[in-house]
């Protein structure tokens, strides 16, 4: 059920990329997809009524959620940050050159 919600988020992002014509909206679509994938990954590591996997003094290691997906998703978020920054920088440069964000007007390449 929860995975289905993630799938809906994924679809929203995909729709955003495919249909929207504004560069910024495309970037937002990418970010939405990225978060849905991250959410799925986190949920795979979840255990019902699990605790945060933090070891504190005098605590037993019992019924913790899987910490590995959390570490991996953190890495994925960092990568996502780098990509988003680069995307936005390039989008700003494109605006600088073309004076528009509309992808139907940005058509120098014929491919």
């Amino acid at each position: 059920m929860v995975y289905f919600l993630c799938f809906i988020i994924f679809s929203i992002g995909l729709y955003c990329i495919l249909v929207k014509r504004n560069l910024i909206k495309i970037i937002i679509g990418l970010i939405i997809i990225e978060y849905s994938v991250n959410l799925v990954f986190i949920l795979f590591g979840y255990r019902f009524a699990g605790r945060a996997p933090i070891l504190a003094a005098g605590q037993t290691i019992k019924n913790m959620v899987d910490p590995l997906p959390q570490a991996l998703v953190l890495t994925a978020i960092v990568i996502g940050l780098a990509t988003t920054a680069l995307l936005i920088a390039i989008a700003m440069r494109i605006y600088d050159r073309y004076k528009t964000f509309d992808i139907t007007e940005i058509r120098r390449l014929k491919g």
Partner: protein, 497 residues
């Protein structure tokens, strides 16, 4: 001291040193980058003999024993890929000493270049699924930035397109890795393979296979996912085009595809059929699209799609002979496609245009570029003594031998098409009478010549790799690593002890 982690340490270290020191000292970035890639080339040749002598090497990062810790695995296939990547990268860095003079921030270029190289080496050498994703992203992000390096309109647009498509591919791959982790509860590739053998593929593996096929298919620019390549590769500066077309699509796409499908997931007949179909489509369509192009780099980019089609086709046949052909063609393509892109860069450097119709008779003014380009073109279209002929011959042979006669014939036909558009390139650019406006064109500087000549020599010599004795060391080991299939897990765990 073990040399395995150096393949990641050296390029990353060089990249950060260049970014730290390169801004102030002129000339230092050149020296650092070239010595770095030279060192890597020497090390990767050493790695081949290491694997030959001592078998598969597993390196335990931080001393943690796999599957708990991250491991780096050096086997036949990865040592072969390391040689391909680092040798080509070394020759390309030699080329870029002079070529990149016309851009302002050379140290930025070298930093990104070495980051990309580090990412690619990491993808090749890692034995951990998530690490593969991280290194893949490092290489990909560096390449996005490099495509936009010239910050002109076309380059920015191409880079944006490339980035959106490439990011989507990465997210598909990440989703696939997440699903695999939930199924096997491990990230080590060897351990994953072992769990998958023990539990059977289940219903999840076909789904994950499709995700990986889409993800790595986009990265490799197989036909339905090819649209970004024809924009992104021509827009980058010439050394980067050579790097992207010659290496990046192979390492990020084909190598990861091979490793994951053959060694980890276990290849299913349905996947093989998909690979056969996609390979044939991209082979034919890439070739046909290339004919009509008048921009020299765009033609080369479409030709890359076509040649990638050959490799994927051979992977789809999946007999040992076909795998040998795929690996050999991969090496050949890395060499001659880099050479041709460097040639186009040399033409652009001297004349300032990429339009084939405006050129003509350049052989008179740039004989060396003309000759090396002729060698490259002949090799890619499969003219007998050159390397490209042998790899295509093996692929066609394997296709006919395994009963895919029609596909073999199509491969020959596409080879003729390839010859056609490369003759067009030669005819328009180098042969014929010299146009008046190119009377004053000069041949390119020495380092660019050196790099092109060395690539052309390798192009001529690659046929020798098939000779018995040399084949056992270089190609056979890589092919063996692929054809053992899911025994990869057993072999890897054997060498940990």
């Amino acid at each position: 001291m073990n040399i395995v982690p150096l393949f990641v340490v050296v390029p990353l270290g060089t990249a950060f040193l260049i970014s730290l020191l390169g801004k102030r000292t002129k000339g230092l970035p050149d020296i650092l980058a070239n010595s770095g890639t030279l060192l890597l080339t020497v090390l990767s040749v050493g790695a081949i003999f290491l694997v030959k002598g001592a078998g598969v090497q597993v390196y335990k990062v931080g001393g943690w024993i796999p599957p708990i810790g991250i491991s780096m695995v050096l086997d036949g296939l990865s040592s072969f890929m390391l040689v391909t990547v680092n040798l080509t990268a070394f020759l390309i860095t030699i080329f870029s000493i002079s070529y990149m003079e016309k851009y302002t921030a050379k140290w930025k270029f070298y930093t990104l270049f070495m980051l990309m190289l580090g990412g690619m080496n990491g993808v090749i050498i890692t034995g951990d699924m998530f690490n593969l994703f991280v290194f893949l992203e490092i290489a990909a992000i560096a390449s996005y930035a490099l495509v936009a390096f010239g910050i002109e309109k076309e380059e920015l647009e191409a880079s944006f397109k490339y980035m959106v498509v490439g990011e989507l591919a990465s997210l598909f791959i990440l989703l696939g890795i997440a699903l695999l982790y939930s199924f096997t509860s491990t990230l080590n590739m060897a351990d994953m393979g072992r769990v998958l053998i023990a539990d059977g593929p289940g219903k999840l593996v076909p789904f994950v296979s499709v995700l990986f096929l889409v993800g790595f298919g986009i990265k490799a620019a197989i036909m339905p996912f090819h649209a970004w390549l024809a924009d992104a590769h021509p827009s980058a500066p010439a050394p980067i085009s050579a790097m992207l077309s010659g290496l990046l699509i192979k390492v990020l796409g084909i190598y990861a595809l091979m490793r994951i499908f053959f060694n980890v997931l276990g290849i299913a007949p349905s996947i093989l059929n998909i690979l056969l179909t996609l390979g044939t489509i991209s082979m034919v369509a890439g070739g046909l699209l290339a004919i009509g192009q008048s921009d020299i780099k765009r033609m080369l980019a479409y030709s890359s799609i076509s040649q990638i089609g050959y490799i994927v086709l051979a992977l789809g046949i999946a007999t040992p002979l076909a795998l040998l052909g795929a690996i050999f063609h991969l090496f050949n393509h890395a060499i001659f496609k880099s050479l041709l892109f460097l040639n186009s860069g040399a033409i652009e450097y001297s004349t300032g245009t990429r339009d084939l119709r405006q050129m003509g008779g350049l052989n008179a003014r740039m004989p060396l570029t003309g000759t090396t380009s002729l060698i490259g073109s002949m090799s890619i279209s499969g003219i007998p003594p050159l390397g490209g002929f042998w790899s295509k011959l093996i692929i066609v042979f394997a296709a006919i031998k395994s009963g895919h006669t029609i596909l073999g014939l199509i491969a020959i036909l596409v080879s003729i098409i390839t010859l056609g558009y490369y003759l067009k390139l030669q005819r328009y650019a180098f042969l014929g009478s010299l146009k008046d406006k190119w009377k004053g064109v000069l041949e390119v500087p020495f380092t660019m010549k050196l790099s092109m000549v060395m690539l052309a020599l390798i192009c001529i010599a690659t046929g020798a790799l098939l000779l018995p004795g040399i084949r056992e060391v270089f190609l056979k080991m890589a092919q063996d690593a692929l054809s053992i299939g899911q025994d990869y897990a057993a072999v890897t765990f054997e060498s940990i002890k």
